[in-house]
C-alpha cells in the first residue's frame, strides 16, 4: 500500500515560548524543534501497516531548511522517502494555504492512504489535514485511536466526547491520529544511518504549480494581529491550617462563600 504521512516540525511541548519584537511572531532561536507528537503516531501507524502488508511510506513536510531534520527522523524510524516543500514564499502560510500546497504535492505521487496528526501543537489549528482531504476529494476521519484496513476501505475508531465512533471510509482516504492509537518507536542507530541515504525530494511551490502570490505570510486569510501572553491570575492564596480537616474546611468555605463555585 502506498501511504503518505504528513509531518510538521514544531517547538517541543516543554519549550518556553516568547513573543518576538514584531509582536506577531515567536522567538525561534532558543527553541528545541521536534516532530509534532501526533505526527510521530502517524508515522508509527504507517510503518505498522507497511510491515503488515508491504508498500511504501512517503513523508511529506513543509518548512524551512531545518524541517528536513524531522523528515530524517521519520526516515530513521523506517519510512522510505521524503518530500520536503522548502520555499521562502510559503513561509508563514495559514492552514488553508498549507493544505493547498500539501494537496498539490500529493497529486504528483501515488497514494491510497494519508495519515496526519490531528493537530500540530504550534498554532493548534486542527485544519490542515481536513483541508488536504478536501482538496484531494477524499474522505477524512479525525482523531483516530484504532485503524483497520478492509477490502477497499478503512475502518477507524474515532474519539468523540464521551465515547468512540467507528467510521468506515472508502480508499483512498485520510485519517488523523489521536493519542492511544499506538506507541511510536524510537529511531534505532542503524535506522539513523540508513536514513541518511534515503531520498528526500525538495520542492518549491512553483514546482507544485501553486502561485507563490497566493500563499505565505502576506496572503493569510487568518491574519495574526497580535500575540499576547495569557492573562495573569491574581497571586495564589495559600490555605493555612493545622490539620487536613481544618484546611479542607477553609477551602470549602472560600469556594462556597467567596468564589460561590459550590
Amino acid at each position: 500500500m502506498e501511504i503518505v504521512v504528513l509531518v510538521k516540525q514544531v517547538p517541543d511541548t516543554e519549550s518556553l515560548i516568547e513573543i518576538d519584537s514584531d509582536g506577531v511572531s515567536i522567538k525561534k532561536q532558543d527553541i528545541k524543534w521536534v516532530m509534532n507528537p501526533y505526527d510521530e503516531i502517524a508515522v508509527e501507524e504507517a510503518l505498522q501497516i507497511r510491515e503488515a502488508q508491504g508498500g511504501t511510506v512517503t513523508i511529506v513536510s513543509m518548512g524551512g531548511q531545518k524541517a528536513v531534520e524531522t523528515i530524517r527522523t521519520a526516515l530513521a524510524m523506517g519510512a522510505d522517502k521524503g518530500i520536503h516543500i522548502n520555499d521562502p514564499a510559503a513561509e508563514g502560510s495559514d492552514a488553508l494555504a498549507t493544505a493547498k500546497i500539501l494537496a498539490a504535492a500529493l497529486k504528483e505521487i501515488p497514494f491510497e492512504l494519508v495519515i496526519a496528526g490531528h493537530r500540530a501543537v504550534d498554532e493548534d489549528n486542527y485544519q490542515v489535514a481536513a483541508g488536504v482531504a478536501e482538496f484531494l476529494g477524499i474522505p477524512q476521519v479525525s482523531m483516530v485511536v484504532k485503524a483497520e484496513l478492509l477490502d477497499g476501505k478503512i475502518k477507524c475508531q474515532r474519539t468523540i466526547e464521551g465515547g468512540t465512533v467507528t467510521v468506515e471510509a472508502s480508499l483512498p482516504a485520510l485519517f488523523t491520529t489521536q493519542r492511544g492509537l499506538n506507541e511510536p518507536r524510537y529511531a534505532s542507530l542503524p535506522g539513523i544511518m540508513k536514513a541518511k541515504k534515503k531520498p528526500v525530494d525538495v520542492k518549491t511551490v512553483a514546482d507544485l504549480g501553486i502561485d507563490a502570490a497566493s500563499v505565505g505570510a502576506a496572503n493569510r486569510k487568518v491574519k495574526i494581529k497580535a500575540l499576547n501572553f495569557p492573562p495573569q491570575r491574581q497571586a495564589v492564596k495559600m490555605i493555612q491550617g493545622e490539620t487536613a480537616q481544618e484546611k479542607a474546611a477553609e477551602l470549602v468555605r472560600v469556594l462556597h462563600e467567596e468564589a460561590k463555585l459550590i
Binding site: I17, I19, S142, T159, K221
Partner: protein, 321 residues
C-alpha cells in the same frame, strides 16, 4: 452581499450539546454588534421537536434539516449539507462549537468554502464591522488575536468558555431539505460511556490527578462525583497507565475550561498547564510548596492529597446536605 451570522448547532441522540447554546448566544452578541440577523441550523434525523430549545438564546431564524442520512455525524454528509445551505443563506460569519465534531466539520467546510477559520476561540470582539478573535496557540502559552480576510469569516468557539445568554426575540423555524450528495463514509458503530460520567471538556468541575497519586485515583473519583464533575489526569499519570488517554488534560491531551479545576498531586509541568490554564478558578493541592502549579492557581494547599482530598469531600457533604 454576504451578511448575517450563521450558527451551526450540534446535537447527539436528540439532545443539544451545551456548546450549541454557547454558540447561539455568542452568535446573537456578534450579530447585535454587526447589526445583523442570526440564523441557526439544527441537523439530524427525527429531530423536528428539537429546534424550540434554541429559541430562548435569541436566533432570528432556525433552519431544521431532518434526514436519515444525518442520523450520525459524518464529515461528508454534514459538510455537503452545510455547504449548500451557506450558498443560500450567504452569511458573513459562521460560528460553531470547537467540539470533536465541530473541529472536524469546520476544518473541512473552511476548505470547501475557501474561507478563513479561527479555530478554538475563547473570545470574539467586533471592531469596525470586523471580528477579532482570540485563540490560544502553543497549547495556551500564547493567545493570538486574529482577523479573517474575505467575505466569510468562520469562528469555532472553545466549549465551556463563552456565556450562555437568554434573549427574548421572535423566531421563525423553517424546514429545509438536505442536499446530502455523494457519501464516502458510513458510521458502523457507536460506543458511548455508560452511566452518568461527565464529559471532561464540558464539565463545570474537573478534579485531576498526577504523579502524586501513585496511581490511586479513588479519592479523586469520589471528590469528582461529589461535585458532579469529571476526572482528569496529567500526562505522566496516563503514561504510567493509571488512566486512559481520554482523561489526559494537557498540550497533547484535552483542553478543559471548567468553572473549577482541582489539581491533585500535579506538579504543573508546562505541558499540563497548557490544557487547563483557561479554567475559571484553579485549586492546587500538592505536597511540595515549590511546585509550579501554585503559580497558576487561585487557591493552594500544601498537603498530602490522600488526606486532603477525602477531607474536602467530607466538608463538601456538610454544605450540600
Amino acid at each position: 452581499m454576504a451578511q448575517g451570522v450563521f450558527v451551526i448547532t450540534e446535537q447527539r441522540d436528540s439532545a443539544f450539546r451545551k456548546v450549541s447554546f454557547e454558540a447561539v448566544s455568542e452568535g446573537r452578541r456578534v450579530a447585535d454588534g454587526l447589526g445583523a440577523e442570526v440564523t441557526a441550523v439544527v441537523m439530524g434525523s427525527g429531530i423536528e421537536g428539537l429546534a424550540a430549545a434554541l429559541e430562548k438564546y435569541g436566533p432570528d431564524k432556525i433552519l431544521v434539516v431532518d434526514d436519515s442520512a444525518l442520523a450520525d455525524y459524518t464529515t461528508d454528509a454534514y459538510t455537503n449539507v452545510i455547504a449548500e445551505l451557506v450558498k443560500s443563506v450567504d452569511p458573513a460569519v459562521i460560528i460553531l462549537g470547537a467540539s470533536a465534531q465541530g473541529k472536524d466539520l469546520s476544518a473541512r467546510l473552511a476548505a470547501r468554502l475557501d474561507a478563513g477559520l479561527a479555530m478554538d476561540c475563547t473570545a470574539i470582539k467586533i471592531e469596525n464591522g470586523n471580528l477579532t478573535c482570540t485563540r490560544p496557540m502553543f497549547g495556551g502559552k500564547i493567545f493570538a488575536d486574529v482577523q479573517i480576510d474575505g467575505p466569510l469569516q468562520m469562528v469555532a468557539i472553545r466549549p465551556n468558555v463563552m456565556d450562555i445568554t437568554e434573549t427574548a426575540k421572535p423566531c421563525a423555524t423553517e424546514k429545509v431539505a438536505a442536499q446530502v450528495g455523494e457519501l464516502k463514509t458510513t458510521v458502523a458503530e457507536k460506543s458511548m460511556d455508560t452511566g452518568d460520567k461527565v464529559e471532561l471538556t464540558e464539565a463545570d468541575v474537573v478534579v485531576s490527578g498526577g504523579r502524586g497519586t501513585g496511581g490511586n485515583f479513588e479519592a479523586i473519583e469520589q471528590l469528582a462525583a461529589a461535585l458532579g464533575g469529571a476526572v482528569g489526569a496529567s500526562r505522566s499519570a496516563v503514561d504510567e497507565g493509571w488512566r486512559p488517554h481520554s482523561d489526559q488534560v494537557g498540550q497533547t491531551g484535552k483542553v478543559v475550561s471548567p468553572g473549577l479545576y482541582i489539581a491533585c498531586g500535579i506538579s504543573g509541568a508546562i505541558q499540563h498547564l497548557a490544557g487547563m490554564s483557561t479554567s475559571k478558578y484553579i485549586v492546587a493541592i500538592n505536597k511540595d510548596a515549590e511546585a509550579p502549579i501554585f503559580s497558576k492557581a487561585d487557591l493552594g494547599i500544601v498537603g498530602d492529597l490522600f488526606e486532603m482530598v477525602p477531607a474536602i469531600a467530607e466538608e463538601m457533604k456538610k454544605i450540600t446536605s
